[in-house]
């Protein structure tokens, strides 16, 4: 039975830095859901919602099971509340769980919320190091930046990628974040400024690393029947799936996101995508470290191995190009943890709905994809295809 499901609403709160956040944790999620209801309008309220899928990472929020002490997730109405936690891909996983809860017929209207996860953080790397396998990898003090370093150093060596290549793809995100009201870092750093910023973990410069932000993003999904009542710009979910790797370094070649390659083939087949560069009109990719976007172009089949920098140089993945990517500024400019992996989906939805502000709206985009990455050494990926 092919029951169709659409995203009918997107809710964003304002974004700031975790250190300057003055809103209490539950207030941020309440604002986020309220923004989602206001986006849809038509008197939609918590009474109409069947389930809420809350995505976060406990240790970042400073309380274990942060969904339990957050009364804005329909708890006073005894709604079914799921806490979906797969690390960086929790936003993608919650999106998928929400989608299947409706596609299966078990629910009609659901919310998937990417939490303002890192707002309790004093030092993000300290917490990220606790995702490193205890006893075997944790003692060496690797946080997410170090793990990104292993990928980008190997990629750099295997395909003679230059520091400028990394800085150029970073500059693309910084440029567009200036026009994104929901971005945190909107400084528009140039290639020169990025290269001049201090090296943190080789080969990554400071302005090629995501900030620790605060802010939340949610999407509201509905069955085909309800979606037609609630929205005149429904965005249909064609396919979404995730893939898992080993917990430890294991078999990783580190020169590519080789699991994302496998996942892309599976998801493209389900969504009927033959040639990604032709069939996809917009992509939001998970780029907490600027260089990841290059690895993602190659894993998603936009170009051959090592050719990703050429796509950036030729403007293929910029505004006005053949396949504009991450015009929101992406995770590089806004990363409050799991809301970052949820807002990749939200941004693609807004592009397909034609509701993107700041002169970043891609003309008649029909098919878009959203990607998220997470887990120790990038153990998980999710990939979603959306269309209008």
């Amino acid at each position: 039975m092919d029951r169709k499901v659409a995203v009918v609403g997107v809710g964003n709160t304002s974004y700031t830095s975790a250190k300057r956040e003055t809103r209490e944790r539950t207030e941020v999620s309440a604002d986020c859901i309220k923004a989602g209801f206001d986006f849809v309008g038509k008197g939609l309220s918590m009474d109409d919602v069947d389930s809420i899928f809350y995505a976060s990472v406990d240790a970042f929020e400073g309380v274990q099971r942060p969904d339990r002490s957050m009364d804005c997730l329909g708890q006073s109405l005894n709604k079914a509340t799921f806490f979906v936690h797969t690390g960086g891909t929790a936003g993608g996983s919650a999106f998928k769980e929400a989608y299947h809860s409706v596609k299966s017929g078990l629910c009609d209207i659901v919310i998937a919320l990417g939490a303002s996860t890192t707002s309790a953080t004093v030092e993000a790397q300290q917490i990220l190091n606790s995702a490193s396998p205890p006893l075997i990898e944790k003692p060496f003090g690797a946080g997410a930046i170090h793990m990104a370093g292993y990928y980008l150093m190997r990629y750099k060596a295997d395909y003679n990628i230059t520091a400028e290549d990394f800085a150029m793809v970073a500059a693309k995100s910084h440029k567009h974040a200036v026009n994104n009201p929901y971005a945190h870092i909107r400084k528009g750093f140039t290639v020169e400024e990025i290269l001049a910023s201090p090296m943190v973990c080789s080969p990554i410069h400071l302005y090629e690393i995501c900030p620790v932000s605060a802010g939340a993003t949610c999407v509201i999904m509905a069955s085909e029947e309800k979606a037609k009542e609630l929205s005149d710009t429904p965005v249909w979910i064609k396919a979404i799936d995730s893939i898992s790797n080993t917990f430890l370094a294991g078999y990783r070649p580190f020169t590519s996101f080789y699991k994302l390659e496998i996942l892309a083939k599976r998801v493209y087949e389900k969504a009927g995508i033959k040639n990604p560069l032709e069939d996809i009109d917009y992509a939001e990719l998970f780029n907490p470290f600027a260089g990841f976007e290059l690895l993602e172009y190659e894993a998603l089949g936009f170009c051959d191995k090592g050719d990703a920098p050429k796509l950036v140089r030729d403007g293929i993945t910029d505004y006005g190009g053949k396949l504009p990517c991450t015009l929101s500024g992406g995770t590089l400019c806004t990363n409050s943890g799991i809301s970052a992996s949820m807002s990749r989906h939200a941004e693609t939805v807004l592009q397909l709905m034609g509701k993107v502000e700041g002169g970043r709206q891609v003309k008649n985009a029909k098919t878009g994809i959203a990607h998220s990455w997470g887990g120790n050494m990038g153990q998980f990926h999710t990939l979603c295809v959306l269309s209008v």
């Binding site: 039975m1 092919d2 029951r3 389930s51 990472v57 406990d58 240790a59 400073g62 309380v63 274990q64 099971r65 969904d67 339990r68 002490s69 957050m70 009364d71 997730l73 329909g74 708890q75 006073s76 005894n78 709604k79 079914a80 509340t81 799921f82 806490f83 979906v84 936690h85 797969t86 690390g87 996983s93 998928k96 769980e97 989608y99 299947h100 809860s101 596609k103 299966s104 017929g105 078990l106 917490i127 990220l128 606790s130 995702a131 396998p133 205890p134 799936d241 995730s242 893939i243 898992s244 790797n245 080993t246 917990f247 699991k259 496998i262 997470g374 887990g375 120790n376 153990q379 998980f380």
Partner: protein, 386 residues
């Protein structure tokens, strides 16, 4: 939901005390997942999706599903971790199958660590009001036990009797952690922990591992001739801040049971349900839950206990596994109860005849990290296949 999705096989190992398994979560999860696959001659590559039930704060690892997922067969596959209850994880498997995305799903969980459980359940509380007063799970049990005792003027001996009833069942369950037949007198003599609860009325923390293979209708028929069909699922949550009435009236259990009964087409619970596995990390909660699920009037669960209805050989056996008193596993408690109910429906209990038992109700909850405020409940209806 008639004959659409079934549990076709389970894997389980004997539960022990904290840090007594001699295995880490990956080894234990691998053992039970392999067992579940081997029981029906299935291979890793037959799996489409893996669902893990575990919590970072209980595994000492941020993104701890990273350790368990590959052990349950997730390498190169799709996987997710749901940190609420075991029944929420089964819902995720069922939704994936009914969406046409999967035919065979592994749901697995394990507990292998020793930790300071008071500390761990305290950091589940909010940081402004309840965290700083040191509020933890055991104290929340004391409050609910006090409320029930005073509301229905129950005798403290009845609490010892419900505990004894569970110890007697646990003693003959080879998988339970505690296999000792504590008498009512021994239980009454054990010291108070959080009045009116005594130490032998609160479940010790157990370590172990459990896995279930869940299949679509077509795959189930291919793999086994005695599938256990999942006929209904009801999931609810409850608010964290509220009036004492809202925090203690178990409205969420009533609603979860109604949702699951309606989906399973069950008209009269008392007549149609043959056996139950209920979450009860402190023994008296079995009485509270039976009333909230709708099996008897308020305050009357004690009569069913004293008539022996809910004991071995009774008309409506509850927690034949020994319940949460004998096996109180934080991560895997929910799936443990599901597997015990499946074994009871398949009459696989040695020394206990559950032959003509057709329908089982399994209740799971995340109350092991705190029973007052923010508790989620899940009710699962199971039916033996023809």
């Amino acid at each position: 939901m008639k004959n659409k999705v079934a549990i076709v096989s389970c894997g389980i190992i004997k539960y022990e005390g904290q840090n007594e398994l001699g295995m880490w979560n990956d080894e234990a999860t691998f053992k039970v997942s392999k067992m579940a696959l081997d029981n029906v001659g299935a291979e890793k590559d037959d799996l489409d999706f893996v669902v893990i039930s575990t919590m970072d704060g209980l595994d000492g690892i941020t993104i701890s599903n990273g350790l368990l997922a590959p052990a349950a067969g997730a390498y190169n596959k799709s996987s997710v971790r749901i940190e609420t209850t075991g029944v929420h994880c089964i819902f995720s498997a069922v939704a994936d199958i009914l969406s046409g995305n999967s035919n065979l799903v592994m749901v697995a969980s394990s507990d292998t660590l020793e930790m300071d459980f008071g500390y761990v359940t305290n950091f589940n509380q909010d940081v402004y009001f309840r965290g700083p007063v040191g509020f933890n799970a055991s104290q929340s049990y004391g409050m609910l036990a006090m409320d029930y005792l005073k509301k229905h003027n129950i005798d403290e001996k009845d609490y010892a009797r419900i505990a004894n009833k569970n110890y007697l069942a646990g003693a003959v369950n080879p998988y339970a952690h505690i296999n000792k037949k504590y008498s009512t007198e021994e239980i009454m003599a054990s010291p108070y922990v959080n009045w009116p609860l005594r130490s032998l009325e609160i479940g010790k923390i157990s370590n172990g591992a459990v896995a279930c293979l869940i299949a679509s209708e077509e795959k189930a028929k291919e793999l086994t001739d005695n599938p256990v069909w999942i006929s209904g699922i009801g999931l609810t949550s409850s608010q964290y801040l509220g009036s004492w009435k809202e925090l203690s009236d178990m409205k969420a259990i009533k609603k979860a049971c109604k949702k699951a009964s309606d989906m399973a087409g069950i008209k009269d619970l008392k007549k149609e349900i043959d056996l139950m596995e209920i979450t009860a990390p402190f023994a008296p909660f079995e009485l509270i839950a039976m009333e909230s699920l709708g099996f008897c009037e308020e305050g009357k669960a004690v009569d069913m206990l004293n008539n022996g209805d809910t004991s071995i050989g009774g008309t409506l056996p509850v927690n034949l596994s020994g319940g949460g008193l004998c096996t109180n596993a934080p991560n895997s408690g929910g799936l443990f109860r599901v597997v015990q109910a499946v074994k009871q429906l398949n009459n696989e209990l040695d020394g206990v005849n559950t032959e003509n038992m057709e329908k089982a109700l399994v209740h799971d909850s995340d109350m092991f990290i705190g029973a007052v405020g923010g508790v989620s409940h899940g009710v699962l209806m199971l039916e033996k296949g023809e």
